[in-house]
Symmetry: C2
Subunit: 249 residues, 2 copies
């Protein structure tokens, strides 16, 4: 079920949230609903390294220098890993303690896009939401892809909703654990913005309504542990919140 969020209320809509729809007379309080991932996604993309200071931190942390990409350098995340707002991230029993948050802006495609220019690309974006690109750093260094480090079930919380009128190149992303700020940066530092990524992707792949793109993280990231409550708060969008549990063997 889809709805329009206005203030503390959600008005249920009928139809296609990315196409023709109409409002109904049904309203819910924000606290009365269970949030799903805000779009049905066929393919979940992510930028490569998209903030220079995160690259510097990652080099200090891991000894591995990820080069600044000369052009948008997309990769994938996987839909099995998606989790809605107020969900619970399950850390597998055999994960290391190095399970890190990466608070991120997420772009949501609103219209089928193939070979669109950078100038028109944002007209194919329905809006933006918040995501946590959770990363198990030991698996990230061991495996040749991110299939397990970043795509274990529940490792991709996204939400709470899609904000349709934001300047995606000028937002403040704040990550909190149990109320304390652990990461804060501006999306003005993105190496390539959403327009560049949408345009570049669309030269080769068809983007579909609901497809989402994680836009990368900045600065240092750090551990999440059993019992933590994690929030990704993006100005003009809202707050994505999730709990963290570690599985027993």
């Amino acid at each position: 079920m889809h709805g329009l969020v206005e203030g503390n209320f959600i008005t249920r809509i009928e139809g296609d949230p990315f196409g023709e729809f109409k409002s109904t007379k049904t309203r819910y309080g924000l606290s009365d609903v269970t949030f799903l991932v805000p779009a049905e996604c066929r393919t979940l993309y992510a930028t490569g390294l998209n903030f220079a200071a995160h690259g510097d931190w990652f080099f200090e942390y891991s000894g591995k220098r990820v080069p600044i990409p000369p052009r948008p350098d997309p990769g994938y995340r996987a839909i099995n890993a998606l989790l809605g707002h107020e969900g619970t991230v399950l850390i597998p029993y055999d994960a290391s303690d190095e399970v890190h948050f990466e608070g991120e802006l997420v772009a949501v495609v609103g219209k089928r896009a193939k070979r669109v220019s950078e100038a028109e690309a944002l007209s194919y974006v329905a809006g933006f939401t918040c995501g946590n690109d959770i990363s198990e750093r030991k698996w990230q260094s061991q495996d040749s892809t991110f299939w397990r480090s970043k795509n274990t079930d529940t490792f991709k919380p996204i939400g709470p909703w899609i904000a349709t009128d934001v300047d995606s190149d000028n937002l403040t992303v704040t990550t909190r654990i149990n109320g304390s700020v652990v990461q804060q940066y501006s999306t003005s530092k993105m190496i390539f913005g959403a327009a560049a990524y949408v345009s570049t992707l669309s030269q080769y792949v068809t983007l579909f309504p609901g497809d989402m793109i994680f836009m990368g993280t900045d600065n240092a990231t750090g551990r999440m542990k059993h019992g933590d409550v994690v929030e990704v708060d993006i100005s003009d969008i809202g707050v994505l919140r999730h709990r963290v549990e570690r599985e027993h063997r």
Copy 2:
């Protein structure tokens, strides 16, 4: 629409091809239907390097040594790229001439799988089909992921159907261009088989019915060009066929 292939006929079924279904009285000739990709796939996986001789060839070809993985080393392909049997692969105008075939066995998941053992893994596989893991080698060397080299629209032909009773570790894969054999190998040379991949993936990610896994290619690969007809023929499964066109600027 789904059907059961027997000999030269397809019997239409009603219901869930991976669950409860029943045959109808409607039959079609094989040449009277348009083949879609044989399963609705949420996530399309691929093995990392899975044949030693292909690794040796790739080193000679590219100068890059891909290490033999010590454990199953999965990655992704993307569903925008899927193409059914008898489809047309479109090579973008800006691709190099190094657009290569990789004839491959493809495993199709039949039951939701999470944390299944290697011993039971094949009972979660509905069957096997043929695929061409088309790869633009210049983009493969330039980009940090395979998003464009292997996932450009139409670069993942799969089909024609799912064979439900095959010994996946003992099949002969033959790739032909315009009738001439350009690649032939046995799946007995796989470094890790479908059981190992399904079990390993399922320790961290949920596999869903219809998800597919490209099992890797062996030996040398080579160019496909405008006008070619390419076939991937796997013993006990069938023949996947597609045309190749290069787009004009």
